[in-house]
């Protein structure tokens, strides 16, 4: 076996540019696969952390009549829990409203949350210091779409608990920046006490956000969804991205493997005399076959080594500096951090290396099998068989 490695190594080095072209393609595939997987893993990790921090905390206690995926349920999907039950719970009341920035009509979700809450990262504490009649917080995306800035007043129209229209100017107290689009897009946040006054829905909440000390209990008329359940949708999205990413990896790998396959087929065709000599000098057909298979596999080893040579410094830089996405990605409606820091785990690298070496070995084995059927005399003569 050692001999096979030595001969294979010398053969590959001796082949010069042909070898290096294969190795460069393989190294590129290796780096691209690891890069994209690392990017998705980084996005996944960051977004999960941000979603917990900004949106879900330890989970939601949802009113049974409210379905987050059904806008029909917003009007009536609210209720009241006695104060004794709301320890470790932050109430959020959701209503629908319309704002008129620069005379344009825009539908929004109006959300009330206690200004003193610390369960999620929404900077509500600053609302207490506002002297405006109706101070509100909006996200950066919302500010951009509505062309609003801090201190601006915008006319808002909403309906009270009986469905009667009311309208007043609200003041943008602060614009917050979050990667969690579902806390930002088309939403206006205000102190829940003020929203209770405006709508007449005193003490009502559409959902409660549970903090880390919350103990799951059964509340009549309410349904608890844990952090894991709430994040499942996002995990499914990531899973889907990974599956669709696999198609790209397969195509890239296929191109690289075709190059190896092609080289091996050519080798067997052009190196018949060499094969005949090996057999004449006492090598069994299996040994020759092993030699050619090792040669093919060695392309992938060289590819991995070269890929690591330029990939590792690149990955280190990327994981530290992150990749900043263009602004328009923020409007896609999914939780996408402005800067994604890729995560390159050992498991990811090891699996990619194995996938590359195993597939290259298998691909080399297929043309090499032909050697087993060669007549050594004819091979020595260089006759095409």
């Amino acid at each position: 076996m050692k001999l096979a490695f030595q001969i294979a190594y010398k053969n590959l080095i001796g082949s010069g540019l042909r070898t290096w072209l294969n190795v460069i393609v393989l190294s590129f595939v290796f780096v691209v696969i690891i890069f994209f997987n690392g990017l998705i893993d980084g996005w996944n990790q960051q977004s999960l952390q941000e979603s917990i921090k900004w949106e879900y905390a330890n989970g939601y206690l949802l009113n049974n009549d409210y379905d987050p995926n059904d806008a029909f349920t917003i009007a009536d999907g609210h209720g009241h829990l006695p104060d004794s039950d709301t320890k470790n719970l932050t109430p959020v009341l959701i209503r629908q409203a319309t704002i008129y920035p620069q005379g344009r009509l825009k539908s929004v979700l109006l959300k009330g949350i206690p200004a003193g809450q610390e369960t999620i990262a929404l900077p509500t504490a600053s609302l207490d210091s506002s002297h405006a009649n109706i101070p509100v917080l909006i996200g950066k995306r919302m500010a951009e779409t509505a062309k609003l800035k801090e201190g601006d007043q915008v006319l808002m129209r909403w309906r009270d608990k009986n469905g009667t229209f009311d309208a007043a100017d609200v003041t943008v107290h602060r614009i917050f920046d979050t990667s969690v689009a579902s806390m930002d897009n088309g939403q206006i946040w205000m102190p829940v006490e003020r929203l209770w006054e405006l709508t007449g829905l005193h003490g009502q909440a559409t959902l409660y956000i549970a903090d880390s000390d919350f103990q799951t209990e059964n509340f009549d008329g309410w349904n608890f969804e844990s952090q894991d359940e709430l994040l499942q949708d996002f995990r499914d999205l990531i899973e889907m991205k990974k599956v669709s990413g696999n198609f790209m990896y397969i195509i890239l790998l296929f191109i690289a493997l075709i190059a190896i396959f092609d080289t091996q087929v050519l080798s067997i065709f052009r190196r018949q005399k060499e094969i005949g000599t090996y057999v004449a000098m006492g090598m069994t057909r299996m040994q020759v076959l092993r030699l050619f298979t090792v040669e093919g596999a060695m392309y992938s080893v060289f590819g991995v080594v070269l890929g690591m040579a330029y990939g590792i410094p690149l990955f280190i830089v990327l994981s530290r500096m992150g990749i900043t996405l263009p602004e328009f990605y923020q409007d896609m409606g999914v939780n996408l951090p402005r800067t994604i820091y890729p995560v390159f785990g050992v498991e990811l690298i090891v699996l990619t290396v194995l996938a590359l070496i195993i597939s290259a070995t298998l691909v080399s084995l297929i043309p090499a099998r032909k050697i087993a059927r060669m007549d050594p005399v004819m091979a020595l003569k260089g006759k095409i068989q």
Binding site: A71, A75, Q96, S107, D160, T164, F165
Partner: protein, 244 residues
């Protein structure tokens, strides 16, 4: 002294004339404007920032709770149908061959870019059921003498807490209508003109509807043909009719 008392009584009697007190005025308005059934062909002229576009439709209505609209033009909207049954609104789009029920924020979207939202179309109760009226003066609009009425909601679930109406004194047609929020902010204004007598009723053939919070000239509704109290087959007001 006697003469003064009699004079006061007479004036009081005149003031209490049941034909012109505010509540009987809005009752007459309801009677005039709302028919058992109605079929009309209308043009909705939507004034945009740069240009205007016209959407034609054929409308069927039964009382205030059932209505069915089929859009006739332009080509982009042709075949779109809308059905309202009490509190529910469905829209059928021929391009997707799908019917969707409008809810939540979708109800607050404007109807084909007009100043009228879908939820405005859901308003269906008679004025007398919702408001207490008070006569606050008289004005002349386009040469027509009107009573100015202030309406305050007498039920909790009125869409507009108050309204101001300018009612034609002879024809009992609201020539102008202003709708206010609870805070007193003016939200919408409707102006009626080209009042014609159709099947024994005075009816405005042109209306301008304006969301005053929005910029622009509002939306015009022009009735090209209207029939009152005609028989409408029951299937028209069914979801099945949307896909016909």
């Amino acid at each position: 002294m006697k003469i003064a008392i009699i004079t006061l009584l007479v004036l009081g009697f005149i003031h209490q004339d049941p034909g012109t007190d505010a509540s009987s005025i809005i009752k007459k308005v309801d009677d005039n404007m709302i028919s058992n059934t109605q079929i009309s062909i209308t043009k909705m002229i939507i004034h945009g920032r740069r240009n205007s576009r016209t959407v034609a439709s054929k409308n069927y209505a039964e009382g205030t709770e059932k209505s069915y609209t089929e859009y006739l033009s332009p080509a982009r909207e042709e075949g779109t149908k809308m059905l309202k049954l009490e509190d529910n609104l469905w829209i059928y789009s021929p391009s997707t061959d799908r019917t969707i029920q409008l809810s939540g924020h979708m109800l607050r979207q404007s109807v084909m870019g007009s100043d009228l939202s879908y939820e405005d179309m859901m308003e269906d109760r008679k004025l007398t059921e919702v408001y207490n009226a008070q006569k606050i003066g008289q004005e002349t609009i386009n040469g027509r003498k009107t009573w100015v009425l202030e309406l305050h909601a007498k039920v909790d679930d009125a869409s507009y807490e108050s309204q101001k109406l300018w009612i034609d004194q002879e024809r009992f047609v609201p020539l102008r209508q202003e709708m206010y929020a609870k805070s007193g902010k003016l939200l919408k204004r409707a102006e009626a003109s080209d009042v014609k007598r159709v099947d024994g009723r005075w009816y405005p053939m042109k209306m301008n509807y304006k969301d005053v919070l929005k910029e622009g000239k509002g939306t015009d509704f022009v009735i090209t043909d209207i029939q009152f109290d005609v028989k409408i087959p029951e299937y028209i007001f069914s979801k099945a009719s949307l896909k016909r």
